[in-house]
Symmetry: C2
Subunit: 154 residues, 2 copies
């Protein structure tokens, strides 16, 4: 691990989260996945996310990382999917982390589409707080809980 | 659980994530915490986040939830902190979820401030990819891994 002062050999391509921010912001949540292609298909095909340009290959830690989301690195709101090259067993999730929430215009339509493609629906669309949006829960390919929250009043 | 069509009894206060979004976006990551006040102090005092207006009290599931972040619900990039009223044991984290990343203008200054307030630093600030930003890892009060990424070139 080398601590090179960043101003000496500045590599613009590595400052994907921006280089002029004066204030902090939440950037992404990282989850480890068993099959990067399957996870990318899930988040891209089912949720319309896109993979951001660069795929990071960490030779030293033997892992690959792809960032996905709806905007770009600097906008935050991203997920980092990490594939450890030597790990094929399922990951455990503990009971601390709860879920990752995605706002979608139509929760019921999204759930039907996910169901048709074989996704496990763990809570059917429902209005939990009277007058509030529909929410639902599904599982991603590794079993991570994804909450869907309706963001468009119909 | 009641599924009331949302257009019948619309409660504007519950549509905190917006009600006109035509496209999906990542909204927040939820983590369970043992001591809501301690966690709020950590994220507010050390990171400058703010608690969003409403504290949700879920009588049925016996839990409270507070959303925190730098902007507002609709902007996404939030964390949802959940306190289960009847749980006081430490939560387990498994090995699937990795971390939550926060971009800060000055990683080294942030780490020194966190260290002074007793936060455990799990990886000292370092440039991992030549010419890239400083990154560091710290633990929040429940042990969740927080990655700090420098977002301002100095």
């Amino acid at each position: 691990m080398t601590t090179t002062p960043s101003h000496e050999k500045f590599n613009d391509e590595l400052w994907v989260w921006g280089k002029a921010a004066q204030r902090p912001r939440v950037l992404h949540t990282m989850v480890r996945v068993r099959d990067l292609d399957e996870s990318l298909r899930f988040y891209i095909d089912s949720f319309g996310m896109k993979a951001m340009g660069q795929r990071f290959e960490f030779e030293e830690s033997r892992a690959s990382a792809v960032f996905i989301g709806y905007d770009d690195y600097a906008a935050g709101n991203c997920l980092e999917l990490v594939k450890e090259w030597d790990v094929n067993r399922p990951y455990t999730q503990g009971n601390g982390y709860g879920h990752i929430a995605i706002g979608v215009p139509d929760v019921r339509e999204t759930v039907e589409r996910l169901r048709a493609s074989g996704t496990e629906i763990t809570m059917e669309p429902a209005v939990l707080l009277q007058g509030g949006p529909h929410v639902a829960f599904v599982k991603d390919p590794d079993g991570y809980a994804i909450e869907l929250i309706e963001t468009r009043q119909t």
